[in-house]
Symmetry: C2
């Protein structure tokens, strides 16, 4: 690589690491990260990233190599991510909800050659490593490196003794930055290849659309191993040079106190977290007036919840809708629509073109229901080593979301269901979400409900509700079915109601319908 | 090109044309362009662009071909630019201040195969074409096509009979979108190759930094053939889906009336235009309260002017600093600094890293003066067919601006002078701008002054001031020199003062020092 070629790359490239470099040059003394008692200015954060990047290079890691990252939310998580960006490495965040077999699969599939890990997760990673051969270095974020294991080193060692000069490596605009493995609803998770330009542009779009500002004070408490917290939130905050308060997990009391004490301006949480804060006894006594923006993700909020949120938090609410493959935000459900179009998922962001596609690959007119498809420079490169899944996802010149929805006359997108969660019963297609809404309406004592199609000799799939009663209450399936029948078409009414204590959820709180389906697969056969 | 390859490009690419497509899909009925009595929604604007794009394709234009555009500000200008973007053509805007020889040089150098032209400029283009061979099609925006010239066709014909479907061509992220020829201070102008990613990202940055919104109402009155009006202003407005009121030129009375009648929220003008509006008799009687942002470019405003602007226009003022090669904005002099750091050029925008470089290629510390250099994905691809100039501009892994400046302790950039305008006199380097400031201070009756170095047998270059007295006043060179001597070091004092009626300016109002230097080259020899 000639000096000229390196020089031109450094001048021109789109690189997520460069966005940190620029913030550090522009606002060196501004507060970047707060992690417990530790506070880092942009100068310190960038310098740390540069030193870790040089340290990883010293350990032999080279552009294109994959580095797995098994850690809860902490400063080191973001330092590792940006060090990868500046060195041209691919970061592979490990979902901390995974078991040994999933971790093992991902380490193997991504051909990770190094792992950065917190002590807490070291045993699981060690177990997973038994089945893989590629990993040669493990860097321990916390805890002491006391074993004689030559592959194990302290994360701190990467920075110590390294210069804090900017790493200068040739990295293409579309070079991979992350492999994010989607929580598998099929047998094996798929590795979503995220690239610098896609993630940089999505961050720009998000910062522009939700008006992120350099004087904003964000809380990062959703798992950083997920794209929403990592890319749409942290990378956009760092791009504009704002401050991030890192929390390991959501805690209603802590968060309410933090908003008051640190004059937090932006939070990002799940609907159930807002619900929990609203119910917390501290909510009335905390000063929440610093909040400008409240983002939420995963699902629309029911009307009573969003009304209460707007009243109590008194700031602008945005629902982020999208998926890992889109880096991830595709539509924003905006403050002005929260109460007029409650239940919708919003309008496309500036960087994304969204359309509804029919089964023949043609685009459908406004009002028609079909698969939501996208075009956007934010789109993933591909599924790693999976040309079949990639070709399927990119068929007909659009990215296929796997979501079903429609645009209304106001140009607002409504999400109907995941393709795979639509129930095919007696020749009809039924949206599981429509049935779920009817259940909540039929009996307010239902705390949680999920509706799936289960194998059935007559109906092909039988609509089945799995419900959790509110604590201290009971559910009579027959009575509930009668009530539901009065709200929706008879053929959409569940054939059976299964009462359970809890529903399986992903680490982001999403109900795992695939696990529900597997667990009760023989429900009708058994009968 | 396989269907799959086209499909993937359409999904992933960064393309300026796609930003219009997305705005038209998101806000079809929103007002996009107003040009006199003509009003176009985003649906209509996009449809027109698509039809023109298909029409150009029908005429044989293909990806990579260059199309010259000789037109004043009008809707057709933007339609042509976006039609080029969607077809993969390179748009070559013709500076309407150029003579036949410059137009001829640019048509030839860019190998333009088609020209879109307004009737007013057709004779000049025809004259210029005598010396070029590449142009095969001329499309006339206005006026009737009555000649028997087979190369001449009506611009309207491009759209008529074309479908309004989205053109689907493979266009790379870094494919060229424009050749912008810089007004030559050397013998031949250089063609700055702008690419889709650079221009798209600069537009995103501008929209983010100056908080462009979809409900903004912009006035485009600076020449669209310049990068500042075209890229940082129009492309960013179209990206967010705002409205652009197109004006052919600046007229203080018209603009003040337009701000009131159309509730304009954003204007972009030169300092002298703000000055003219402030002096206009209508300024007190017009309602200017709709203004949110006032952008200006070319030069900092003197303190009395910016103070008066803030008072009268009562909105946020931003100075855009940069150059065509950077697409163009590199720093923004922000509202909060206008009065505290009057005279500075601001802080780098989010997408740009700015530094000061010494003559040895090393970066200099804060406070030191040297060449302003940049790294940014907004940087041009290269100078067209000019590898020497490109290599020089990209030396040491930074883009060389040719500007001299320094950062102060607050991280704010101060522009000292253009490299080539620094005067080398008697072994010393003197900033021409410093001398100009002293002249204005020494005699308030000086309307305009420019300072250049002219060939001199003893001083190598002799500092020389060329001044225009305010109307009805006289200037005595000897007295003026004495007054200047009391303000600056003796060696910085002009050796001569030349009094003229007017100074030569570019179409953006910049004083052409190169023309001044040529005109008076023999001033000292003659003596």
């Amino acid at each position: 690589m000639s000096t000229t070629e390196i020089g031109r790359n450094l001048i021109h490239r789109i690189n997520v690491g460069d966005s940190l470099t620029r913030s550090a040059w522009r606002r060196p003394e501004a507060l970047a990260l707060v992690d417990g008692d530790r506070r880092f200015t942009y100068r310190e954060f960038n310098s740390w990233v540069n030193r870790v990047s040089h340290g990883l290079h010293r350990h032999g890691l080279r552009s294109g190599d994959a580095l797995a990252l098994a850690s809860g939310n902490c400063a080191e998580f973001l330092v590792t991510y940006y060090a990868c960006a500046k060195l041209g490495l691919v970061c592979v965040p490990i979902n901390l909800g995974w078991g040994t077999s999933e971790i093992s699969y991902v380490l193997d599939h991504s051909a990770a050659t190094a792992v950065v890990v917190e002590n807490e997760f070291l045993p699981r990673v060690h177990d997973a490593l038994a089945a893989t051969v590629s990993v040669v270095d493990i860097f321990l974020i916390d805890g002491e490196v006391t074993t004689g294991d030559p592959t194990l080193a302290a994360f701190a060692e990467l920075a110590s003794g390294s210069p804090d000069s900017e790493p200068e490596h040739v990295i293409a605009d579309r070079a991979p930055l992350s492999y994010l493995y989607t929580s598998g609803t099929t047998s094996f998770p798929k590795g979503v290849v995220g690239n610098h330009a896609a993630i940089y542009l999505e961050s720009m779009t998000m910062a522009l659309e939700a008006q992120f500002r350099e004087d904003d004070r964000f809380v990062a408490m959703m798992p950083m191993f997920h794209t929403a917290q990592l890319n749409t939130h942290c990378t956009a905050a760092i791009l504009v040079g704002a401050t991030i308060f890192i929390e390991r997990r959501f805690d209603a009391r802590r968060l309410l106190a933090l908003i008051e004490s640190e004059r937090i301006t932006q939070i990002f949480a799940l609907p159930m977290m807002y619900s929990e804060m609203l119910e917390h006894s501290d909510v009335g006594s905390r000063d929440l007036s610093s909040l400008r923006r409240a983002l939420y993700a995963m699902a629309p909020m029911p009307r009573h919840l969003i009304e209460r949120c707007i009243e109590v938090f008194a700031c602008d609410f945005y629902l982020l809708f999208g998926q890992t493959e889109m880096s991830p935000t595709t539509t924003l459900f905006r403050p002005e629509h929260q109460l007029t179009h409650t239940g919708a998922v919003g309008t496309p962001v500036i960087g994304v073109q969204a359309a509804i596609m029919g089964q023949d690959g043609g685009l459908l007119p406004t009002g028609d229901e079909g698969e939501i498809v996208y075009r956007s420079p934010h789109t993933m490169t591909e599924y790693l080593d999976n040309p079949e899944a990639t070709a399927e996802a990119f068929d007909h010149g659009w990215f296929h979301s796997g979501d079903i929805g429609r645009f209304d006359d106001d140009g607002i997108l409504w999400f109907t269901d995941r393709f795979k969660d639509v129930i095919k019963t007696g020749g009809e297609n039924v949206s599981s979400l429509e049935v779920e809404r009817a259940i909540y309406q039929a009996d307010p004592r239902i705390a949680e409900a999920t509706v799936v199609g289960l194998p059935h000799h007559r109906w092909s799939e039988a609509i089945t509700a799995v419900v959790v009663p509110a604590s201290g209450t009971m559910v009579d399936p027959a009575t509930l079915i009668d009530k539901i029948k009065q709200l929706i078409d008879p053929y959409k009414t569940p054939k059976a109601i299964i009462v359970v204590d809890a529903l399986p959820r992903t680490s982001t709180g999403k109900i795992q319908k695939n696990v529900v389906r597997e667990r009760f697969a023989e429900h009708y056969e058994r009968r």
